[in-house]
Amino acid sequence: MRIGVLALQGAFAAHCECLSSIGVEPVEIRTPAQLETVDALLMPGGESSTMSQLLESSGLFDAITERLASGMPTFGTCAGMILLASEVLDGRSDQRNFSAIDISVRRNAFGRQVDSFESSISTPIGEFHGVFIRAPRIERVGTAVEVIGSLGDEPVLVRQGNVLAASFHPELTSDARLHEYFVSTMSNTRKV
């Protein structure tokens, strides 16, 4: 399985390193032609409003929309989760999102950078060290969405079919278990 990492802006380099560390060769995606060469996509953290604009100007917004509709396994972290959400609160009014997972997400809900934090969270692969940077909050989870990771009572890792989304940054630790989880579970599932 070839995995692409959306490389318009943000923490794409850290995701690529994580994938390399588990023996998966990452492909940086900046154009629709590059997207055609991959089977799955990672959408990194960064600034969702910046990425949203670059998705438009590069033609990737429509290309990714099409691939998501046909079941492409996709993992969005932080800003990537915002882009995948069905509803974005406190975003820019012109910010577009893919509505690929039925959640409502509030941008920067955990506060400014001085409020950014790291904390242990529970996930399907056990305790995981979560790094939250100006993080979004999942305020509503649709009925088709499974909460698979939480920080206390709060959902921070969710899944709907082939779409996985996290409000934290697994790529900022040297622990690649969540990347492995994405690669292994998604390569076994087909369209929902």
Binding site: A7, A11, G91, R107, N108, E118
Partner: protein
């Protein structure tokens, strides 16, 4: 902070983490909320709030200090992207004030008048991350050893001349490439020559890269300048006077954002370079004498 027990703020990982999020982006200097809005609309990944852009600081002379808190708050209220602000080298009280405002990143900057001729700020003492300028690898490693979470090549701010930024980037990244080829005995000599902590030099020899993200600043005026910095190995760019001192800031800002993302794609670079109007007039580096160079500030 939320109430979850066992969580920690202000760690190096959390501070360096925000620098990771800014990669591949453009951080734009803005002097008021209106410019901040233009920058965010154009796709800036962050804005740097300051009272005068470097070109005006250079023109006006005098002492240049941190911005008025109310001006920074006005910008924070206008945009959703991270807001950065500058403090004078060594002026840790300006940094305390800026941190209290909830600014996302502090730039301990040579563009402002230095407050301390020997000491930079102890950046480990802060929750907010710091970026510092560097002209060479030794300077970069000294700043990292003081707690800087991002390094930007200094270039020469307010000139619109890219030559110094290229010199500094090539110096920092070129020395990193050489260090990866050095043997253990040579690393001692490298640390001595660079006046930098040996463990940091040894770490670079192992990993082949700087401990924190390296961005480019000082002299970027066109989409081609931004792509040049990226192809040389910068991971993002700061644009100061280059946008709001040009004829038509909004399209130029958007073009520089696209050029920074698609820095290896000549087709995109042609498209975004067309019809932008006049860039900032700029000052050729040969016209500036040594005492007027901001890059020499910092130790």
């Amino acid at each position: 902070m939320n109430s979850t027990s066992g969580s920690s703020v202000g760690t190096q990982r959390v501070k360096r983490g925000l620098a990771e999020m800014l990669k591949g982006g453009v951080i734009m200097d803005v002097v008021n909320a209106e410019q901040a809005k233009i920058a965010e609309d154009a796709g800036a990944c962050a804005v740097m709030a300051l009272e005068r852009v470097p070109a005006d600081i250079r023109r006006d002379g005098g002492v240049s200090r941190m911005s008025d808190p109310s001006m920074i708050e006005g910008i924070q209220a206008t945009v959703r992207i991270p807001v950065m602000a500058k403090v004078r080298i060594g002026h840790f009280v300006e940094a305390q004030i800026i941190q209290q405002l909830g600014v996302d990143f502090i730039d301990e900057s040579e563009v402002l008048t230095p407050a301390d001729e020997k000491h930079h700020i102890d950046k480990f003492a802060f929750t907010v991350p710091f970026v510092c300028g560097a002209t060479n690898l030794g300077e970069a490693l000294r700043r990292i050893s003081e707690g800087a979470c991002m390094i930007r090549s200094k270039g020469e701010a307010g000139t619109g001349d890219i030559v110094e930024a290229v010199r500094h980037l090539r110096s920092i990244l070129g020395d990193i490439r050489k260090i990866t080829q050095a043997d253990q005995a040579e690393l001692f000599e490298w640390a001595k020559q660079l006046q930098a902590p040996l463990p940091l030099v040894q770490e670079i020899a192992e990993t082949g890269k700087l401990q924190v993200p390296i961005f480019c600043a000082g002299g970027i005026a066109t989409p081609a300048d931004a792509a040049l910095a990226m192809q040389l190995g910068a991971e993002a760019v700061f644009v100061g006077s280059g946008i709001f001192k040009s004829d038509d800031p909004a399209p130029r800002a958007k073009a520089i954002v696209e050029a920074t993302t698609h820095f290896r794609d000549p087709e995109v670079l042609v498209r975004v370079s067309r019809g932008l109007g006049a860039p900032m007039t700029g000052i050729n580096m040969d016209e500036i004498n040594n005492t007027q160079r901001f890059a020499q500030r910092g130790w």
